[in-house]
């Protein structure tokens, strides 16, 4: 069973998924950040693969992508860093929680889509979030490859996504469905109260996948509002900001996740 499915079988509420960028803040901090997230209460890690042109991301995540690229991060390097990340010599260092890779199509196409999926599955990571892979391409080309390697694939839905389309994307997704809280790029500060009726609508649809809410979740209050109507939430920008001037990744992560969960 996939680690993601397993997680949702044991825990249906207040799931905390945290985004971090591979190679940020330092080239070799990827695993340190992931461990800090695991040790301080994250349920899922969304590991961003840096890209020069991250279309759906706001200035904070863009900047983390630029820094990571400047640090020399590549898909190949990320795979090297994640080698044995589930079975480290020191047992407490192993990452046991689900990990999804998030990124844009172009670097993956250059790497080789199938090779990418094969290596991701070998590590293993659990799934992929590729916001610029549209459902038409997924259904005609890429979905089969992703499934062949047993990876989960998470589609996004927004307040503008029609009910019919939400059902279609739910049917194509495995793991969970990513409910974007408003029409925006990451890191925007739109009014969160309008989001509630949309999340209620999703909840009433009785979808097959659990729902995690992302974009605009930045503190305890927004996390809790999201969790009222969904299985949990995804935090990205606010965590990257917490890492921006951090001297110690562990301390910064502990402080940040503490402020959300306690």
């Amino acid at each position: 069973m996939s680690l993601i499915k397993n997680l949702f079988q044991h825990k249906q509420h207040n799931i905390l998924n945290v985004y971090c960028t591979a190679g940020y803040p330092h080239l070799n901090s990827t695993l340190e950040v992931m461990r800090a997230l695991q040790n301080n209460g994250a349920d899922i890690i969304e590991l961003g693969m840096p890209y020069s042109d991250p279309l759906a991301d706001g200035p904070t995540i863009q900047a983390s992508n630029s820094v990571a690229l400047h640090n020399g991060m590549t898909i190949e390097k990320m795979f090297e860093q994640l080698q044995d990340f589930r079975n480290t010599p020191a047992e407490q260092d192993a990452i046991r929680i689900p990990v999804l890779l998030m990124g844009y199509m172009n670097p993956i196409l250059q790497y080789g889509f199938e090779k990418f999926c094969r290596q991701a599955a070998e590590l293993p990571v659990d799934g992929l979030i590729l916001p610029d892979l549209p459902e038409y391409e997924f259904e005609t080309i890429y979905g089969d490859i992703i499934k062949r390697y047993g990876l989960d694939f998470v589609f996004l839905v927004t307040p503008e996504t029609s009910e019919e389309r939400v059902r279609k994307l739910d049917a194509l997704s495995t793991g969970f469905l990513y409910a974007v809280s408003s029409s925006s790029i990451t890191g925007s500060d739109k009014d969160f109260s309008a989001v509630e009726s949309y999340l209620q609508r999703l909840q009433n649809m009785q979808l097959t996948n659990p729902i995690l809410v992302g974009f605009g979740i930045k503190d305890k209050q927004t996390f809790q509002s999201a969790c009222k109507y969904a299985n949990g939430a995804i935090i990205g920008t606010a965590y990257i900001k917490a890492l921006e001037d951090a001297e110690d990744v562990n301390i910064a992560t502990k402080k940040f996740l503490g402020s959300i969960l306690q």
């Binding site: 844009y104 250059q110 549209p134």
Partner: protein, 409 residues
């Protein structure tokens, strides 16, 4: 005039299939946040564009506001120099000084019919930004233009024009701070306000249906060339059509109605910058690999790791690391011949045209003229060069070039 059911499985040179593919290139690689907008556009653009009321308004504006048809000018001294027959399609004589306004008018009229209240655009040289700001002023619509910080500096007169026209100019400060980044910022702005806003893309790039829609609005260029050439030479067909390619909209328009005429050679000229292998170039077909940029699959200049590289061209309008999917297909199939011209060659071509014909071309268009030096031309050839814009915006670059020449001699 247009047969909406003419989409075939693989698409044609001219038209993509229903998923937006020209051969292997095209599609709509967009995040879900843009799905509804792009889908709305896709399901309605053809119906709206070919509505009689739309066509009437569009054609009237092209005629009385833009000044179309633009002349097809026999450049006699230039022809003599190359011992052949060269016609210039004078898109530089359009209102606002370039072909960009053909598309800007079309898209703004379309946006109005979609009920959109606000227009956003990206711009490189500033010509598309000026064209869009102009049409928005004409129609009384709010306009925001995204422009790379570097381009804001090198195209100052156009920034001033946009501001005078009432548009807000927002600097793009990420990446190379040029057209690619301005396009990213415009797409992000669209994601943030998808319901009220229409994004007027300025070239044949972006997710389907943009490349097809922009190509159709620009196709008026070759539509006119055909009858103008017939009047002048007795034949509708030239031997060569030459155009510069940034994203490829003036080229798409100049090529459009000749793509099915196999005897017409289609010549595209890209910006080689300091030279193809200098690391300072924007010649996408020479340096690019298949990839996804700004919502479509095409040829993209990128590193081995799939990071988009920062291109270079002296011409802001050609300083783009991608190319429209239609052109990637023309390149891949060999239907189009792709040449390139360096910064210096283009400067020389601009001065040559100015001295021989009294026409100061845009730096972009000067790249197209460089093809004349590279092709083997015969006296029997009839060549059409798309002079996509005028050089007013490039005067500071031209003046610098003159000073350099003066100081060296």
């Amino acid at each position: 005039m247009i047969n909406i059911t003419s989409f075939n499985q693989k698409g044609t040179y001219k038209q993509p299939n229903i998923f937006g593919y020209y051969g292997d290139f095209g599609g709509a690689y967009i995040p879900e946040m843009l799905h509804r907008n792009v889908e709305e556009l896709k399901s309605r653009y053809l119906e709206i564009m070919y509505e009689p009321g739309f066509q009437q308004e569009f054609q009237a504006l092209l005629k009385d506001y833009v000044g179309r048809p633009t002349p097809l000018f026999l450049a006699e001294r230039l022809s003599k120099k190359y011992n052949t027959t060269i016609y210039l399609k004078r898109e530089d004589l359009n209102h606002t000084g370039a072909h960009k306004i053909n598309n800007a008018i079309g898209q703004v009229l379309l946006a109005q019919r979609l009920g959109k209240k606000r227009i956003i655009a990206e711009t490189g040289a500033g010509q598309h930004g000026v064209a869009t700001a102009t049409v928005c002023a004409l129609k009384g619509i709010e306009c925001v233009v995204y422009m790379g910080e570097v381009d804001i500096e090198r195209q100052a007169p156009n920034v001033a024009r946009m501001k005078m026209l009432g548009a807000k100019v927002v600097p793009a400060t990420s990446g190379s701070k040029t057209l690619k980044d301005a396009t990213n910022e415009a797409i992000r702005a669209w994601i943030n306000d998808p319901l009220e806003t229409h994004y007027v893309i300025g070239s044949v790039v972006g997710p389907h249906p943009y490349p097809d829609m922009v190509a159709r609005f620009q196709s008026v260029i070759s539509e006119e060339v055909r009858w103008q050439l017939k009047e002048k030479t007795g034949s509708e067909l030239p031997t060569h059509v030459i155009a510069c390619v940034g994203g490829g909209s003036n080229a798409a328009g100049a090529f459009y109605h000749f793509l099915d005429d196999d005897n017409v050679q289609i010549i595209a000229v890209e910006a080689a910058g300091h030279g193809i292998n200098s690391g300072m170039s924007a010649a996408t077909t020479q340096l690019g690999k298949p990839g996804v940029l700004h919502g479509s699959k095409s040829l993209v200049m990128q590193t081995a790791d799939g990071q988009v590289v920062e291109p270079h061209s002296i011409s802001a309008g050609l300083d783009y690391p991608g190319i429209g999917p239609m052109h990637a297909h023309l390149y891949a199939t060999g239907r189009g011949k792709f040449l390139s011209a360096t910064d210096n060659e283009s400067l020389a071509a601009a001065f040559q045209l100015t001295r021989l014909e009294g026409i100061i071309p845009a730096l972009e268009s000067a790249h197209a003229l460089c093809a004349l030096d590279q092709l083997k031309l015969s006296p029997r050839d009839v060549i059409v060069v798309c002079l996509s814009g005028r050089g007013d915006k490039d005067l500071s670059t031209y003046m610098k070039a003159m000073e350099n020449v003066a100081s060296q001699s």
